[in-house]
């Protein structure tokens, strides 16, 4: 049940692109054609599934406060969490290279279809963002971390697939000249993000309040957005009732 909830939450409610704007650069740059978008999306799912659990292990056994206990009692007080950025990004960069070598060796056809996207992924914010969110939300078990990586990857895949399909179609419409290309893509993504906000009610059963998952660290999320939701929802709802 816990797994199922995390799975759907990561895909729809906490969608990497629409809720947190992670991986926007490649999302905007590579979404001109559906076929390339699928290639990049698959690569992102793959790399997220590998790196999030790996970084979870790093976090649990090296970086967290007291994580070095297994070395002996005298190490119990060390807190290396300030090193997380550098260790996470090093893991991601090396894993991407490793994955590239392994895939090239054992599955040349997959390698050809992923093509140049694999090396690009090392600098995709969605990948590092996945690991940083995993850390800030205190995901508890290895299985959940694996699940989180995989499902956020799927969320990203869905987003890029959708925008690529829309951009292929929008070529036939008469967009105002200054908005062509980048501008209209931004606005469409904004509208899609508003649509995705409606999934927020999925786990609460549609009630306006935040899910009462006491002690569930998933609620910590991003502070900025939490504040906004708590202060602004009443206003929006009063606006609606006025109409």
């Amino acid at each position: 049940m816990e797994h199922l909830e995390l799975f759907f939450k990561s895909i729809f409610v906490d969608n990497m692109v629409f809720a947190y704007f992670l991986g926007m650069c490649s999302y905007l740059a590579v979404s001109k054609k559906v076929s390339t978008a699928v290639g990049l999306g698959a690569a992102v799912i793959f790399v997220l599934t590998v790196t999030v659990p790996l970084n979870w292990l790093l976090d649990q056994y090296i970086l967290q406060e007291g994580a070095l206990k297994w070395l002996g009692p005298e190490y119990a007080e060390y807190d290396l969490s300030f090193l997380s950025f550098i260790l996470f990004i090093a893991t991601i960069a090396t894993m991407v290279q490793l994955v590239e070598i392994v895939v090239e060796k054992f599955s040349p056809s997959l390698y050809n279809s992923l093509g140049i996207f694999l090396p690009l992924i090392a600098v995709n914010c969605a990948i590092l963002g996945g690991s940083l969110f995993m850390q800030s939300r205190d995901i508890e078990t290895f299985g959940l971390a694996l699940n989180y990586g995989f499902s956020s990857g799927i969320g990203w895949f869905l987003a890029i697939l959708a925008i690529a399909a829309i951009r292929e179609k929008i070529r036939y419409s008469n967009v105002p000249a200054p908005l062509r290309g980048l501008g209209i893509t931004f606005i469409i993504t904004g509208l899609m993000a508003i649509g995705f906000m409606s999934f927020g009610g999925m786990l609460t059963g549609g009630s306006e309040e935040k899910p009462a998952l006491d002690g569930n660290p998933d609620n910590l999320g991003i502070q900025v957005e939490e504040n906004i939701e708590s202060t602004e929802t009443p206003e929006v709802s009063t606006l609606l009732t006025k109409e």
Partner: protein
């Protein structure tokens, strides 16, 4: 600018308008959108990126002849990560509330495409001084957009600037609220950042027709 030659000042001024990293080069969008609900985090973010870009570009430019090209991405990432750790620790020490608010987005400066993009495109092929100017220019171009978006979202969304109410008090109905003005709660929600940037692009491209894309 007596200090800078014409070519050098172009390096700084170009990214501010016609070669803006966000609206033209499409770099560094992730963080630009996520933290602009208010003006203060936007400015802190802009300053952090300015520091990382300026110093990082110089470091990479100094090392450009000794980095083997095969592992250059990892080297660049390590340089940025080190600088970002410095920023993060400084923020935690002197502005703890703000660093909580920015949460993972300070860490995500590492993968901010502006930084990697400028390293690859400029610092690897130019001397330290020019790289420094290029870094400062691009970070400033990024900062300008951040501040514009943050300004409008905070003003229209909550009627404040830097947390100070500038449009009157919505509870006691003073100022603009006295004549029936309401805050647009929608502006502080994340999706509106995308739409505001979209509008900025629209305005910029209507003013400068050369920037219009084919489709």
């Amino acid at each position: 600018m007596g200090l800078l030659s014409k070519k050098d000042s172009k390096l700084i001024l170009d990214p501010l308008a016609d070669n803006n990293p966000i609206t033209i080069q499409v770099l560094g969008i992730c963080s630009a959108l996520a933290i602009t609900a208010q003006l203060k985090p936007s400015i802190v973010m802009a300053i952090s990126v300015l520091f990382v870009m300026g110093v990082g570009n110089v470091v990479i430019s100094l090392m450009r002849n000794i980095i083997p090209s095969k592992i250059r991405i990892i080297v660049q990432l390590i340089v940025v990560a080190t600088l970002v750790i410095i920023v993060d620790q400084v923020l935690k020490a002197f502005a703890y509330e703000l660093s909580k608010e920015l949460s993972v987005f300070i860490g995500l400066i590492i993968t901010n495409c502006i930084i990697m993009g400028r390293f690859e495109a400029f610092a690897l092929g130019n001397g330290p001084w020019r790289s420094f100017l290029d870094g400062i220019g691009n970070a400033a171009g990024y900062g300008v957009i951040l501040v514009i978006v943050g300004f409008f979202r905070e003003l229209l969304g909550s009627g404040t600037l830097f947390g100070f109410p500038v449009l009157g008090n919505p509870v006691t109905k003073t100022g603009l609220y006295g004549i029936g003005y309401e805050n647009n709660g929608f502006m502080v929600l994340p999706p509106m950042a995308l739409i505001v940037v979209g509008i900025i692009i629209w305005v910029q491209r209507s003013r400068n027709k050369e920037l219009i894309e084919e489709n």
